[in-house]
């Protein structure tokens, strides 16, 4: 398996810049979270990587090969998204056979087992399913297709809590049996937090985070206490969000706290989870009262 390199991808729609010289690397057999607010360009990015749409500038490389119009490279990618790419009468079993013909070695056994778990039959017509069951059916294909880079764009769309748990379980199971790269783009950040190894955050067309989750969260803090003490303690740090209530000030920072900083008794320092870290980084300087 080779590395997937996204190199300075720029995408414009009219005069609006959706992706601004976006660059990052995906390694084999890792689970990535691709996070971003609505309209941040996640789906566009995934569509560009899988060659469904063209970028204005930049390239996507798999190893040394450019992915554009390259069957050998594209044959290692699979993108699951909301887009309806099938004709109306398509049945779930047609999705399976399509995947088998295109990629080979489709895991029919596991796929059928997953369908049973989701309580859908492979003879059902895709278009007649509810949003949630449609997603479940597409997930079943995505988790059993023989590709090394699986991109999941909003894989939890419409899934109820039980099905979401089932999805996470099946993901870990198939990842354990056959390690390959998964890129999960979702809004349910806290639910997927523990599934991810690395996280990439897209904000206003640029990559603002590209590192292991452990490293990011190791430097994500919420500091609260009397305003003056908090200001003193966080002097020189980049404050992401700031919130005042009574005389207590709460700020979030995402950077290493130097060991030498003495922590006054009344100031509390807590760790942030991935969702709070994400909202702090992408809030764009929200000031709260």
């Amino acid at each position: 398996m080779e590395k997937l390199k996204v190199q300075t991808i720029t995408k414009r729609y009219g005069r609006k810049v959706i992706l601004d010289a976006v660059s990052f690397e995906l390694q084999p057999a890792k689970i990535y979270g691709l996070l971003g607010r609505n309209g941040a360009g996640k789906s566009t990015l995934l569509n560009i990587i899988t060659n469904r749409i063209f970028a204005n500038q930049g390239a996507v490389m798999l190893g040394e090969q450019n992915v554009n119009n390259n069957q050998a490279s594209l044959g290692q990618f699979y993108l699951m998204s909301e887009a309806e790419l099938n004709l109306k009468h398509t049945k779930i079993k047609d999705l399976f056979s399509g995947a088998e013909l295109a990629y080979g070695n489709f895991d029919f056994e596991n796929a059928r087992r997953m369908l049973t778990a989701f309580k859908i039959s492979e003879d059902q017509t895709l278009a007649k399913l509810s949003t949630g069951l449609k997603t479940a059916a597409k997930l079943t294909v995505a988790l059993n297709v023989n590709a090394d880079y699986i991109f999941l764009d909003e894989p939890t769309l419409g899934l109820d809590a039980n099905h979401r748990e089932l999805f996470y379980h099946e993901l870990m199971r198939t990842y354990g049996e056959r390690p390959r790269t998964f890129v999960i783009s979702t809004h349910l950040i806290n639910e997927v937090q523990q599934l991810l190894e690395n996280v990439i955050i897209l904000d206003r067309g640029k990559i603002i985070v590209d590192e292991p989750v452990i490293d990011l969260l190791a430097k994500a803090y919420e500091i609260s206490g009397p305003s003056n003490l908090v200001d003193q303690y966080t002097h020189g740090l980049k404050i992401l969000t700031s919130h005042n209530f009574s005389r207590i000030k709460t700020v979030t920072v995402v950077e290493k706290l130097a060991e030498q900083r003495t922590l006054p008794d009344q100031v509390k320092v807590d760790h942030l989870d991935l969702q709070k870290t994400f909202t702090a980084l992408t809030d764009g300087g929200n000031e709260g009262e």
Binding site: T50, I53, L74, G98, Y103
Partner: protein, 232 residues
């Protein structure tokens, strides 16, 4: 043939056969209704007459099938293909292979229609003009496929603009061009020009048809290479 495109060919052929069967079925139903009506009104019927009638009607339906398929299949094929990581090259290749198959099917239908038609007039006429028939089918299918692929690149708004504005513009340009020719060249040089043309009329025709086919083929390739998943 590339093993790689077997999935695409599978999808296209299943769609082609299904649509053909539907066309066949509709024909059968209307033909059966006609038979029943004839039986009820005790009209004159003959086996060969009715069979001929069926084949002729089916032949017309195949024309319609042969127009609709290349015209509308480009974008659905593209969408299905990109879903499974097929490259544009392979999608185009499968499309091209299908065009060949459809051309042959349509032409064979014409042959059958001719055989049945001319049965009453003598078999040796059946094969008249079959070569030209094939040329006509090829030109027709390629042109429709090019239009279909071109429209796959346009969003809804532009489809209307080109769809209505395009033919209007084409007529306007053609008309202006003709008028321009008759204005700039005097009758003598025009007469000479047409004389030369008619001297080698067949050559000119062959040339034009060949160039047109190549142009359409090239456009189909170009359009498939620039196709993208649309947002509308």
């Amino acid at each position: 043939m590339n093993k790689r495109i077997s999935g695409l060919m599978n999808w296209i052929m299943r769609l082609s056969v299904w649509s053909l069967l539907i066309v066949f079925g509709v024909n059968l139903v209307f033909w059966a209704l006609r038979i029943i009506l004839k039986l009820l009104t005790r009209s004159h019927m003959s086996l060969t007459g009715e069979l001929t009638n069926f084949v002729v009607n089916f032949g017309i339906s195949i024309e319609i099938w042969g127009v609709i398929l290349p015209l509308f299949i480009a974008y659905p094929l593209f969408k299905w293909g990109i879903q499974y990581g097929y490259s544009r090259w392979n999608i185009w290749l499968a499309n091209t292979a299908s065009l060949v198959i459809w051309i042959v099917v349509i032409w064979l239908a014409h042959l059958l229609k001719n055989v049945v038609d001319y049965q009453q007039m003598g078999l040796h006429h059946a094969t008249d003009g079959l070569g030209w028939d094939l040329v006509a089918v090829i030109e027709g299918v390629l042109t429709l496929a090019a239009i279909g692929a071109g429209f796959a690149l346009l969003n809804r708004r532009w489809k209307w603009i080109i769809g209505i504005g395009g033919p209007v513009l084409a007529f306007f340009i053609l008309g202006s061009l003709i008028r321009l020719i008759f204005v700039t060249f005097d009758s003598q040089s025009l007469a000479n020009f047409f004389a030369v043309l008619s001297f080698n009329w067949m050559g000119v025709l062959y040339g034009f048809l060949f160039i047109w086919a190549c142009l359409m083929f090239g456009l189909i390739y170009l359009f498939f290479m620039r196709m993208q998943l649309r947002r509308d």
